[in-house]
């Protein structure tokens, strides 16, 4: 008896090893993130991090709850516009207050949209979210505080907590990095919590989750609201970084782009959206400088088609498959 309690069973050993490996991976990525601005251009990195957070938020919904939202641009834009408007019109506000307000606005919008959209399933869910987001787009074209077609320019970066000047790109980078790590950690905790397990159960078999007594709609709604809030956080942060908020963020192409990032990186994997966002943003930046600049949307469309036809697990998903096969 005593022998069995003291020695670990092989499965527990394997699980512990997996946990150690994961811990090492997180530490390594954290180190890379801290060193990165000395190697690459910080503004480019910040762009990737903002979109990565956006894609991670989207992935929480598609990858773990199985809900395809085609309207996430609305949350990105709402965060951006609210933050941009507040920071431009109230110079006394500190950036973190502006970002918090933008995030809360997206959270609220997510609550309303989520409550409406979860009344339909599957394909209808996608169409409802797309239509609602288009309504938001029209609203932002006409609303007085968004600057219409011109958007908001010259949003001040300000002083973080009234202490740290964010006009230096390096300081700004570490702030964005901290925001991303925070958002990512929240998603990681959500996915690995009992709540996340229920979400996966709903994704796999909704009627069974209902019959087990789970209030499926409540779970879906909470997931939707978290996702919308984090997308808003990404939009707010992006506005502070680039000092502008524009209609591009509200356009449905943006909702499509975040789907592509997630699909390319790997739906339902934690790191997939990060990889996908990095690739798509790099590709767009590279293409914009090349003679192929006008073909960006055609190339993105082609990647979409290829991903769906033959690469549905995405890059991280495929790597996980290989790892699982060879390093059991």
């Amino acid at each position: 008896m005593t022998a069995t309690t003291q020695t670990l069973s092989p499965s527990m050993k394997r699980r512990r090893r997996a946990r150690q490996r994961r811990g090492a991976l997180y530490l390594a990525l954290l180190a890379i993130g801290l060193v990165a601005p000395f190697v690459a251009y910080p503004v480019f990195l910040m762009k990737i991090l903002c979109f990565a957070l956006f894609a991670c938020a989207f992935n929480l919904l598609l990858g773990y709850a199985g809900l395809l939202s085609f309207g996430h641009a609305a949350f990105l834009a709402t965060g951006g516009y609210v933050t941009g408007y507040l920071l431009s019109s109230h110079p006394a506000l500190t950036p973190e207050t502006g970002i918090l307000a933008g995030t809360l606005a997206s959270l609220g919008l997510g609550l309303v949209f989520g409550a409406l959209a979860i009344r339909r399933q599957g394909i209808y869910f996608a169409m409802v979210t797309l239509a609602l987001a288009q309504m938001v787009f029209f609203f932002y074209i006409q609303a007085p505080f968004t600057g219409g077609e011109d958007g908001l320019h010259g949003v001040p970066r300000g002083q973080l907590f009234g202490l740290i000047d964010l006009s230096s790109n390096l300081a700004m980078y570490y702030f964005v990095f901290a925001v991303f790590v925070l958002g990512f950690a929240l998603i990681q905790r959500t996915v690995h919590s009992p709540f996340g397990q229920v979400l996966k159960a709903i994704r796999e078999n909704e009627p069974r989750a209902v019959s087990l007594g789970y209030n499926v709609d409540a779970y879906k709604l909470v997931a939707f609201v978290i996702s919308a809030g984090l997308a808003g956080l990404a939009g707010s942060t992006k506005t502070v970084v680039f000092q502008l908020a524009s209609l591009t963020d509200a356009h449905w192409h943006m909702s499509g782009e975040v789907i592509l990032m997630t699909l390319l990186g790997g739906v339902g994997t934690l790191f997939g959206p990060l990889v996908g966002a990095g690739l798509v943003v790099s590709l767009q930046t590279q293409l914009a400088q090349s003679p192929l600049g006008n073909w960006v949307s055609v190339i993105l469309g082609a990647i979409f088609v290829i991903c769906v036809l033959s690469f549905r697990s995405g890059i991280v998903g495929e790597i996980q498959k290989i790892v699982r096969k060879n390093f059991k």
Partner: protein, 295 residues
Amino acid sequence: MTMIFGVPLAVFMGQLMLGLINGAFYALLSLGLAVIFGLLKIINFAHGAQYMLGAFAALLGLQYLGINYWLALLLVPLVVGGLGMVIERTILRRIAHLDHLYGLLLTYGLALIFEGTLINFFGVSGASYPVPEALQGGLNLGFMFLPTYRGWVLVAALAVCLGTWFVIERTRLGAYLRAGTENPALMQAFGVNVPQLVTLTYGFGVALAAFAGVLAAPLYPVSPTMGSSLLIVVFAVVVIGGMGSILGAILTGLAMGLVEGLTKVYYPEAANTVIFLVMILVLMLRPAGLFGKEA
């Protein structure tokens, strides 16, 4: 002058007419979506792009090949529908066994490709297509002036919608289609070539979009982005009506056009959002849609 709630009758009727014509396009496009959805269970995100291709095919046909409007009305749906069948055979069929959301994503990618390619060649500003000679001028209906072409669009769109309804609900081919919608495996067991039926159905849905595109060419500027914004409104129409019924799709499309026209008269600021607001209302009161069957 006769007034209706403070608006001159002629203005009122004019906006209503415009609304009805928009509604005819909503009806044609949502009908195509519903037909495709019925058998393939996918939402054809490329529908707007295919509508746009229809308009462009008519325009280019006129400019380079001298194909006149009437011939275009016949040929373009065949050509674009044929392209649709090729897409179904070569691409959509490969993912038919997967979650239907992949169909949405795939056709979205296709829409990006079509739209982006045409933007590269023709830019985003629209070209205009001349109104055919026989349909120039207008009719004085006494209470309003109706441009002949608009009247023709309404008649043609309604005729095609009702014709489609007749084929699907009243003919043998339509019976196959409906049976295939219910239970494709059983249909195949009875010796019906279901894969062929699927190809034809997709081609037909695409042809409807292309037909709408040719009809729209003399009315609206022909531009690569003309389809995508329209498609999102049509999605809202589809959510409102539900895709369970052919007649339901037609009626909802026309009704939403009228609602939009009325809003333009009384509160123009909300004209491009009113359909989305109706959608929200329907989602709250009758989540399955007005003609929907699912719970």
